[in-house]
Every structure is written in C-alpha cells, then in structure tokens.
C-alpha cells in the first residue's frame, strides 16, 4: 500500500561518509602525485613537514569549527580573534616574564571571545553569522585600541619560541598538537554521547530539545571550544612570527570554513566528520604549497580558497542529489 510520505527508495544507499571521503582522498593523492612529477622539491621530507606545519594552525581551529557547523552554527570571528590572541599572549608574556601565564592569557582570551559569541547566539538568539561578524568587527577595532603596532617579543623566553619551532621526534610541536586535537575531536564526535547530541542539535534542534537535550548548552560549549582552539592557534602564530601582529589572520576564517565544507560538513548542520576536515585542510594546504614551489604568483593563494569553497559546495549539492535519488 502506498503512503503519503516520500516514495521509498528502491535500494539502500551506501554510507555517505565513506563515499565522500574516498573522493577527497583521491583528490589529495592526485594533487600529490601531480606535484611530485612537476617538481623535485615537493616530495622531500622538508617540504612535507612544511605542509604539515602550515596545516596545523588551520586544522586546530577547523576541528572546533567542524563541530560548531555540525551543530548548526558558524564562527566567522576566528581570524580576528587569532590576531588579538597573539597580541594579548605576547604582551602578557612580556609583562609577566612567564610563558605559562602568557599562554594561558592568550588561550583564555580566545575562550572568552568564544563564550561571548556563544552567549549572543544562544541567549540573545542572534543569527550566528551576523553575531560573529559583529564580533569580528569588534575584535578588529579592539585590537588596534589594544596596540597600535605589532607587539614585539620583549621576553626572549625560549619556551615561547619553541612552541612553534620545536620538534618532538621528526614532527614539529604544532603538528603534534594538531594531531592530538584532531584525534580528540574525532573521538568526541563519533564515539561519545556528547558527539551524538552535537549531531542531533544540528540535524533537528526541536527534536533534540524534545528528547531531553539542551541545544543551547551544546552550542555554547562548542563556541567556547572553538574559541579556546583559536586561542591556541593564535598563540602558536605569535610564536611563529615572534610578535603579536594585529593584522594577522585576515582571511583565516575563510580558509577554515572552506576546508571544513570541502571536507563534507554541511552548512545547515547535522552532517560532518573530522576526517573530512583533515582531508580538506590538507588539500588546501597542498594547493598553497604547490603554488609556491611552482613559483606561481603568491596572490593566487588568496584566490584558491575562494574557488575551492564554491566547488566544494557544488560537489556537496551534487552528492546530495545523488543521495536523494
């Protein structure tokens, strides 16, 4: 007997996640192979490490952004926050002569920004796009009120610089941190109860509420997490540049969002994986790297995420159509 609901599909669809990531892996492999053939320098250990190092910064924030997008919200203030965090961290380290306190200040500042975003979105019920754009403006203005020029490294603490330049075995510290955060994020999303509430919140916030979940709290937590991760990334960046740059991070949020969407996370919530994000980040950074070693104009690096993000959405839509039959 027929039913008034959508007609039943005649065959079960394969698991979405596997299919999407397979395609990404293929693209990544293709890019690597292509670049190795085109140049000598691509496939060197040094270059690989460089790519990983550049990916680390984006990946750290992208893990938080993935979870946030899965829950149905977005945070476009991460770039501006990155810059401010760097200035704060450097300044506090200068003043206290303590790496620990400076680092804590930076990370907590990032967390505070995340908290503010979260409260505005969950309590004042402002659309997260607008709210985080507003935060972005406040941060961009605020950082210049905090410091007119770059905050130089006055403390010369080795711990500070080692954060970005140090190694653990063959891998730079930022890469290790990114890997750990990546694994933690994947575990939380896939394997924990909290991860389930994230998916539910994004897939259907009303159903989630009715089932006893508090979507507001989930989103607030995710905003704070994203903020803390941005704090960590900002700290690493300040360490890398050896200064707190108020102009840093321009366009960073776009790269992060581009990578996350490329990785298969949906803008509307309820869908996304950390693995996908990892592949998305790697693809973008390999492209960036390719532009440099092929000695193309570096300004292309700004164009690439823009094009990628559009292509990624188009791919996502095509995949969606195939899924619905």
């Amino acid at each position: 007997m027929s039913d008034t609901a959508a007609p039943r599909a005649t065959a079960p669809r394969p698991a979405r996640t596997g299919q999407g990531q397979g395609a990404l892996l293929a693209i990544l492999a293709l890019l690597c192979v292509g670049l190795s053939l085109a140049t000598d320098t691509f496939f060197s250990g040094e270059n690989m490490v460089a790519i990983l190092r550049q990916s680390a910064l984006v990946l750290i924030v992208a893990v938080g952004m993935t979870m946030l997008l899965v829950s149905g919200e977005v945070d476009l203030s991460v770039g501006a926050s990155l810059a401010f965090v760097g200035c704060v961290a450097m300044d506090v380290t200068n003043q206290t002569d303590s790496f620990v306190i400076g680092a804590a200040a930076g990370i907590l500042f990032g967390g505070a920004v995340g908290l503010m975003n979260g409260l505005v979105v969950t309590r004042l019920k402002v659309n997260s796009l607008i709210a985080t754009i507003a935060t972005l403006m406040m941060l961009q203005g605020g950082v210049y009120l905090f410091t007119r020029e770059a905050v130089q490294n006055g403390h010369q603490l080795t711990a500070f610089t080692t954060l970005s330049t140090g190694y653990v075995g063959p891998l730079p510290i930022p890469v290790i941190l990114a890997a750990l955060i990546c694994i933690a994020g994947a575990v939380v999303l896939r394997l924990t109860l909290f991860g389930r509430t994230i998916y539910a919140t994004g897939a259907n916030p009303v159903a989630a509420r009715l089932s006893g979940i508090r979507p507001g709290r989930v989103k607030l937590i995710l905003f704070v997490v994203t903020g803390l991760l941005t704090g960590l990334a900002g700290l690493i960046l300040a360490s890398l540049m050896n200064a707190g740059q108020p102009t840093a991070g321009r366009g960073f949020e776009l790269t992060v969002v581009a990578a996350v969407i490329l990785g298969g996370t949906s803008l509307t919530g309820g869908r996304g994986t950390i693995i996908g994000t990892l592949l998305g980040v790697l693809i973008l950074k390999v492209i960036d790297n390719g532009i440099i070693i092929l000695q193309w104009d570096q300004n292309l690096q700004m164009i690439v995420p823009g094009v990628v993000i559009v292509l990624a959405t188009w791919l996502d839509m095509v995949r969606g159509r195939a899924r619905d039959g």
């Binding site: 004042l124 009120l145 969407i261 803008l267 995420p305 823009g306 094009v307």
Partner: protein, 326 residues
C-alpha cells in the same frame, strides 16, 4: 460574526506607526545627532553635516543594492572586494583612453560580469549565496593583488569629470556623491513600490513557492538582484576611486561588513521578503553620523568598528524579539 478560529487582530494605524522599524530608527538618528551636537562644537556645522552625507553616500548606494539581494532571500558579501576592484578597469581604461565615460563603462561591465557570476551560481546552480559570495570576496581580492602587485595604480589621466564625481559639490555645499545616492535611493524606492519587478523581488523573498505559482521566474529575479547589487557597488566604487585618485589595492576591505550592518540595522530581514529602503537609508545614516561624531570627539577610528559591532547585535536582538512577539 462569531469569533474566528485564529486569535489575530488588526493593529491600529498609530500602533502600526510605532511598531514600524523606521520610526525607531529615525528617533535613534535624531537622538544621535542631538547627543553629538551637544558633545562637540564642530559637529552641527553645515560643513560637517554635508561631509557626513557625502561619506554616507557610498555605503548607501551599495546598501541599496545589497538590500534588494537580501529582500529576495539571499546575501552578497563580495561587495567589499568588488567595491575596490572596479577601480582597476576604471583607472586603467581612463589612463589608456583618456575618457571617463569609457573608464566607467569598463568598470560597469566588469561589475556586471561579477554580479552575473554570483547570480548564476546562486539562482541557477542553486548554491548557497553566503558561500558563493564569500568565495567571490576572496577571489576578487586575490585578483586585485595579483593585478596590482599589491601597489596602488595612480590616475594619470587627471580628468576633471572624474575628479568632480567624488570631490565636487553642488552649489558648493552638497557633495555630488550625496546627490547620486539620493537619486539611487529614490529610483529604487519607486521600483520597489511601483514596478512589477520590485514587487517580484519582495514576493520571491517572502515565499519563492507562491511566487513561482504566480508565474514569477524566481531564478531570474534573484539573478537580477545580484547584478543590480554589483552595478550599484560599482557606482560607489567609482566614486571612491575618484576620491582616492587611484586604484588602491586595499580599498574596500571590510566594506561589506559596514554595508551588511546598515542593511540589518535598517530592518531588512535576513530571511527575506521584508524590508524597507527607508530603513536601510536610516541605518546607513546612523552608522555614518556615529562614525563622524566619534571622530569629532577625537576617539580613535577603531572605536567605530567596536561600536558598529555592538549596534548590529543590539539591532538584530531587538528585531528578533519583536518578531517573536508578533
């Protein structure tokens, strides 16, 4: 007639006036002007007032275009880069041909192309407009850097018309940009009220399904709004280039946020189908007078960004809570 099943009532005329967003905004604007007038001597001078109107002209022109896009149910954040990018074809063609008309034509054609790409991807390929225009924002900025090598391109043609557009004043008081902005506003106020196309935009944003049933080509309407927004942004960009006397590669960074802020402040709903250009105009003026007033008080310009951010949040919160009471 027995009471009906739904408990809706029609508000009184006066109630409607007070409920209207525009009234609140107008009051805010007056309050703002009054406060700054008291706090600073140089604020309420003719010179200053006309200066502000001249400055507000640029975001107003662009905001008119963006408002159309948002009313139709989409968004365009690429206007910041386009605002800066149009200076390139303008200046280059002017330098080569010595003609402002040809330069402007080049700029408008360029803008048309950008708007058409945005419009095609959103309306016909059906991609998310935030993503598409976010991507375009970066692609255009990258192209600007690429072409200019991150340096400004100066105006060598030194045409008088070009100079006057951005810097001249009508009867030596009212800056031409303000007149242009007023004209643009008037034209589109008329279109939204008295032209089928204008009503189509509102209908498409309010309910695309109903619009389709009424025979409207939803895709074409949305496409058109993107093109119009791009063309209007180009006009604003041409005026800006006139003021700067060159194509500066960093022009327009952050401009999109200003314009979105004004549109949102003006009561245009991000959901589409609602919004008045009067509100947008008031929103632009509020932000412009705010920036000017703060400058008069010698506050660093960064405060504008901070305060604009706060205002956006306040405006949207109020709008949301008012919408929920309905």
């Amino acid at each position: 007639m027995p009471p009906s099943s739904d408990m809706a009532t029609r508000p009184s005329a006066l109630g409607r006036l007070f409920r209207r967003n525009e009234t609140a905004l107008a009051l805010c604007l007056l309050l703002l002007i009054a406060v700054f007038g008291v706090l600073s001597d140089s604020f309420l001078t003719t010179r200053n007032m006309t200066n502000v109107l001249g400055q507000a002209a640029l975001p107003l022109i662009a905001a008119t275009g963006l408002a159309l896009v948002v009313i139709a149910g989409e968004i365009d954040v690429s206007i910041g880069s386009l605002f800066g990018a149009v200076a390139l074809p303008l200046i280059v063609v002017m330098n080569v041909t010595g003609s402002f008309a040809l330069g402007s034509a080049a700029a408008l054609v360029f803008a048309f192309a950008v708007g058409a790409v945005n419009g095609w991807l959103v309306a016909y390929v059906r991609l998310n407009s935030l993503i598409v225009t976010l991507g375009m924002l970066f692609v255009l900025r990258g192209l600007i850097y690429l072409y200019t090598g991150q340096r400004a391109i100066p105006d060598d043609a030194m045409l008088e018309t070009f100079y006057q557009i951005g810097n001249g004043r009508f009867l030596r008081t009212l800056p031409y940009p303000a007149l242009i902005a007023a004209a643009v506003l008037a034209v589109f106020l008329w279109i939204l009220r008295y032209r089928r196309f204008g009503r189509q935009i509102i209908a498409v944003g309010g309910s695309p399904e109903v619009a389709r049933l009424a025979g409207y080509d939803v895709a074409r309407v949305k496409f058109a709004t993107f093109v119009i927004a791009a063309l209007l942004t180009a006009i604003a960009g041409i005026i800006m280039a006139s003021r700067q006397g060159s194509a500066v590669h960093v022009t327009g960074i952050g401009f999109e946020f200003q314009v979105v802020a004004a549109v949102v402040l003006g009561g245009v709903s991000l959901a589409g189908g609602i919004g008045s250009l009067w509100g947008v105009a008031l929103g632009v003026l509020i932000l412009a007078f705010l920036a000017n007033g703060l400058g008069q008080l010698n506050l660093p310009t960064e405060w504008q960004l901070v305060i604009t951010g706060i205002i956006i949040i306040a405006a949207v919160t109020l709008d949301e809570s008012r919408r929920r009471k309905r």
